[in-house]
Symmetry: C2
Subunit: 465 residues, 2 copies
Amino acid sequence: MMDWRNDRMRVKALMEAKESAGEVFVQGWLRTVRRSKGVTFLALNDGSCMSSLQIVVGDNSPAFAAAEDLGTGSCIGVRGEMVASPGEGQAWEVQAAEIVVYGATDESFPMQKKRHSFEFLRSIAHLRPRTNAFGAVFRVRSRIAHAVHSFFQERGFVYVHTPIITANDCEGAGEMFRVTTLDPDNPPMIDGRVAWHEDFFGSKTGLTVSGQLQGELFATAFSDIYTFGPTFRAENSNTSRHASEFWMIEPEVAFADLAVNCQLAEDFFRYMVEYALENCQEDLAFFNQFVDKGLIDKLEHVIKTPFQTMTYTDAIQRLQNSGQKFEFPVEWGCDLQSEHERYLTEKVVGGPLFVTDYPAGIKAFYMRRNDDGKTVAAMDLLVPKVGEIIGGSQREERLDVLQHKMREFDILPESLDWYLDTRRWGSCPHAGFGLGFERFLMYITGMENVRDVIPFPRTPGSARF
Amino acid sequence: MMDWRNDRMRVKALMEAKESAGEVFVQGWLRTVRRSKGVTFLALNDGSCMSSLQIVVGDNSPAFAAAEDLGTGSCIGVRGEMVASPGEGQAWEVQAAEIVVYGATDESFPMQKKRHSFEFLRSIAHLRPRTNAFGAVFRVRSRIAHAVHSFFQERGFVYVHTPIITANDCEGAGEMFRVTTLDPDNPPMIDGRVAWHEDFFGSKTGLTVSGQLQGELFATAFSDIYTFGPTFRAENSNTSRHASEFWMIEPEVAFADLAVNCQLAEDFFRYMVEYALENCQEDLAFFNQFVDKGLIDKLEHVIKTPFQTMTYTDAIQRLQNSGQKFEFPVEWGCDLQSEHERYLTEKVVGGPLFVTDYPAGIKAFYMRRNDDGKTVAAMDLLVPKVGEIIGGSQREERLDVLQHKMREFDILPESLDWYLDTRRWGSCPHAGFGLGFERFLMYITGMENVRDVIPFPRTPGSARF
């Protein structure tokens, strides 16, 4: 029941205790201070769980004087007896015998007892982890990140750190950030253009938008691999769903076709939701109560419902025959908009839905051409209330088809010679998908702005902290 | 014993089987093809383990014709009977009844049977995972990454994704890469200098050199946190130990002094080495035989040896009294060089050694000033054969002392107002350390060049793949 440090006890362990541990020592920050006649109540939180521990300081306690100056936000240590709490809402409390004040505070502390908007708290992102909501968000983020690794490691996948700085400019969709060490005020120029060969890496480089291409290289050696790392988009879009820096999970599996890929995505998605329901109960209960009523029902429903599969061509037909008015017109060849995706998953099938086999023209160059010549072996997983949450495909493993496709997409095959080498020697069918980690966190927590599930979000105009 | 996909069996599971699984289906790449009269032997590797599976194709097998064209590097699937192997070195083999060829190869495949130098293999980093050595390196990298998470999660630490793009230019030592979306050929200028406020984030930004400052913010909410992410150095140094992009692990612990920090570092280091010895046996045996003879002895010795502690001042005295000739002179105030560190850990104590309390002038601004006014509460863990492998400190939690220190280091306190806020309201003593993930991997594998433990290394002049 003790901590890795044997001189203190975490609040979580104390709250979950079946019997009193006797004299305990706890440390943390005060969420509230409440004074009544002859007794002071302190709510001490140490981040190990949502709940704060009630500290009771009676006026006969040697700690009573020390408690006099404490305010919301103070940092203290308390030694005292752990006793059954007569109050409601907690099993245990601590009767303080000794208080150590590590860090005082004053009324300028921006997070006094009253509730603050998420917008305001974003402006003090360095302090917001000390609130209930963001304490919960970042504990869940940590647990779910571990769940990602556990899922794949249990299945023998190899974790690959794909590079962040890249010289490829065709990795996927999206604008790239440039990475450079050239003198910004006076870069070396040739014929009026920057001489990139004099830059740090001897070429023009940027921040990766996806680890997929390099992940594929590793899949052709280890068979089953996954990446989990930061990716970047230099898009000047200020929406609640887009950040310039976010984490992606990208498994890649050799000898897999689209069906195996869908199976893996379904197993993964279920595992993650179940993991959250089992391991983040207290935090999810908070979100369910204050952020997104019905959240837990939604999560429990999604893992009980069979995942269905429908081709893009079928989906288009279902949308066209629905009689529903959509803002964006529906016709074969168009990209599915969020309204279409949500209609399909919410109204048509009432649960998670894989849409497969999209038109080649609206998907990336590396997706495998189907025999019809018009579609590619792509798949998107749509879920109620969100729409697309996972996107993937079988990859084109035929060298000649891939080279042809690259030229069609105006990508010089020579620029990705190393990528093509995997098709040149011992090529194998393979498939994979990507899940935006933050998008999944928004799904699990009900938080509606991506800036509220990233510790220190980077968005256009903002790289503070 | 079956795989997450129930239509195939991984080579690792097959090799470890206690009894035959009967008819099996395996998929992978051929490491060697050996033909003798009436029978062909294929060594099939699927990346799940170092060992390749022997496939026996007799001339009475329907697969015999398919095996005729196979060469090193081919990608195939094999269905056949798993039987006890009469040959040496393996318990099981598979008698092929059917062979599916996914990807042929030819003699231009750069990795034929002969051994290649690590230098050569670096030039084909996209193919080298298919060799024994790099298969082992990247399997170990994956397992050890998981061990990092397991260690901290088991102890209730919160994993924090600190930002990659940062507007702080004083995070730590080292030159930074700039991140920008301004038109490189024609950036907006004011008075002959780039107008950074027009850049994507509204200010000059770069790639992080450390997540520590942001980690500290989270430690003042969750108490125990860790980071594990990529960090960057734009240093133009071409050594075997420096990469421009590498992964760091940085735990940060509230209510910890230097002694608790050392305890955590020792527990962590032992855990990781023990984890490798237990979970990466086959791969470590390979390194022990071919890369670094004595490796396993070294690792077993280090976890059996008590970790010792010595102040920097004592260490200087021991070095000065040693009678040893050093290339770099030893005097109080100097930075310890690798030769000094190795002498201390190898000759003076013969095991892992924490050196503590370094002169303030050679350490970072955020380290806590000791009462002597001359030293700071820093610690480095030195290990035999390497020297420094972990560096950390208690952080300065006193607002006035920290502000004073920042000015001494020519850092404007206003530029880190958010960092100082944690000392302003509810400040707490805290400490942490950093471990370079690649440096640890070099220690565990015996690989001598950092480029050989990173999937696609970034170094000056090189960002290929």
